[in-house]
Symmetry: C2
Subunit: 304 residues, 2 copies
């Protein structure tokens, strides 16, 4: 019997905001970064926000939150600006510009242009007044539709809901199909807790979406597969994503038994052969051969 997993349970209001904050931003991570340009009457501001995401594609809505500072409850210039001029450009930053983007989060006095301080090239936008960062691989010109105050105290968020009116994507990050973005080319950075960032381009992996596929689920996995000590949760998840009608028939399993590699394993004798079949199934799974994995794993059944 495995040892019980230990958890620490925290009621946020039991902690000071500055003690709670590192738990929340450490766990809700990695967070994409909105690098936001705004203007008041003529003066430009540029600042990064990691309380950010897209929330719907039709209409295309982005939201970010310039939260009141935990330190002293002061408000960001970005928030002041979008109240005055409800427009912004939301940029996505790649690894090549991360130190400059971080520099733009410096609390310079109001009116200091972070394009200048952080060394970015300011180009005019087409549909909104705030200018655009030429170096950003993707940029969304937005109209601010609504600002929702989430509280009044230090650490309170201010949700800025933006509708995208025009988007710009550097040609080299667009997928060869012409539709969508290649994450390997984008090389976007994301924020975690503390001073941590991550760079996703190097740790990408794919999980086929179930979409309208109705996989059999864990409850329909044969017991010797579900309770195997060879297969991981990820292995089982992939097996359980196969639809019932797509599972190999007993004829297909029997045919697979004749393969030389399987025949070699079947010489090993009871326990060893079952273990070897499970390992082979795991290898097949992890190389993406899900239906062959199913055949081998069914051959490892105690009733096979």
């Amino acid at each position: 019997m495995p040892a019980p997993t230990l958890f620490r349970s925290i009621t946020p209001s039991d902690l000071s905001p500055s003690d709670w904050h590192p738990f929340m931003v450490g766990a809700v991570a990695p967070r994409p970064v909105a690098f936001v340009s705004t203007v008041d009457e003529g003066r430009v501001n540029l600042s990064p926000y990691s309380f950010f995401n897209c929330f719907g594609s039709n209409p295309p809505i982005l939201a970010f939150s310039p939260a009141n500072r935990v330190r002293d409850n002061s408000q960001k210039h970005t928030l002041q600006n979008v109240r005055e001029v409800p427009e912004c450009v939301v940029h996505i930053c790649d690894y090549a510009m991360v130190e400059q983007m971080s520099l733009a989060s410096t609390e310079y006095a109001k009116g200091v242009n972070e394009f200048v301080k952080a060394g970015f090239t300011e180009v005019p936008s087409q549909r909104v007044r705030p200018p655009r960062v030429l170096e950003a691989p993707a940029a969304f010109e937005c109209v601010v539709e609504q600002i929702i105050e989430l509280g009044q105290n230090n650490g309170a968020g201010n949700l800025v809901l933006c509708r995208v009116v025009l988007a710009h994507f550097r040609e080299d990050i667009i997928l060869p199909s012409g539709i969508g973005i290649d994450p390997r080319k984008l090389d976007a950075v994301a924020r975690l807790g503390g001073d941590w960032y991550s760079r996703s381009a190097q740790t990408l992996f794919e999980v086929p979406k179930p979409n309208r596929n109705l996989g059999i689920g864990f409850d329909q996995l044969p017991a010797h597969i579900r309770h195997s000590d060879v297969l991981t949760g990820n292995n089982l998840g992939r097996l359980a994503n196969v639809e019932a009608h797509a599972l190999p028939t007993s004829e297909e399993v029997a045919a697979y038994r004749q393969k030389p590699a399987v025949q070699a394993i079947l010489q090993l004798g009871d326990a060893a052969q079952r273990q070897a079949l499970m390992q082979l199934g795991k290898q097949l799974l992890e190389s993406g051969q899900v239906l062959d994995a199913w055949k081998v794993l069914l051959l490892a059944s105690p009733e096979a």
Copy 2:
């Protein structure tokens, strides 16, 4: 003169929602994943949402969006449930559970419990009715405060604003200080476009936060540094983050000139020595020795 960077500019409403969607979710990435459990009158649902983030820490607000399906404008069971019972548990998923989490996004019929289908352990929550996924390294029990419809058509978001009333963190992901989460231990997964996920634990890096530091900025960098063809934007960002009063004095620069490594470079003669000093400065910068980098780079000045 470098070739101009080419961008494709897109007005979202000029594309079909299914053509626009891959641009938006491809660029706003990586996105953290909310793995959300809800209930209607007694039946449990569990489903992942990557239109998700935290938006303020005091009060602690998370928001996620079960958007209307782009395919047919149908709505998610999660959304129906939080309208009926305005509570949820938002879980953070690590790499070990990603295939099971993806399996839970299967569009099973209403009332099918994805805890069972995806093989998770259901434990009761303490402050809300929806149960918790024991396997998740972090979980937030939440009260749903507001649901904001962002549109009516296919692809329209439905912003669910949640206030955290109790949080659970697996002990082994908490930082040794006892305050906050260790991103190397959490190993959270995030979503990008297509079938892509990323795993942040392996590509972490740190950028010191400017906080109340007022770095000199790009505009105050000496020209031979700013326009160097050796230093990258990230190198310059790090240099420009140093405050004016912290820059090395001319005495400190002169003293650094006496170092044997620098003396060796100064034997090389004009152009070669300047290039070598710039390279040494870059190396120092990239090993975190920012002030020594400054000294070396000042020695590379045409006036030095």
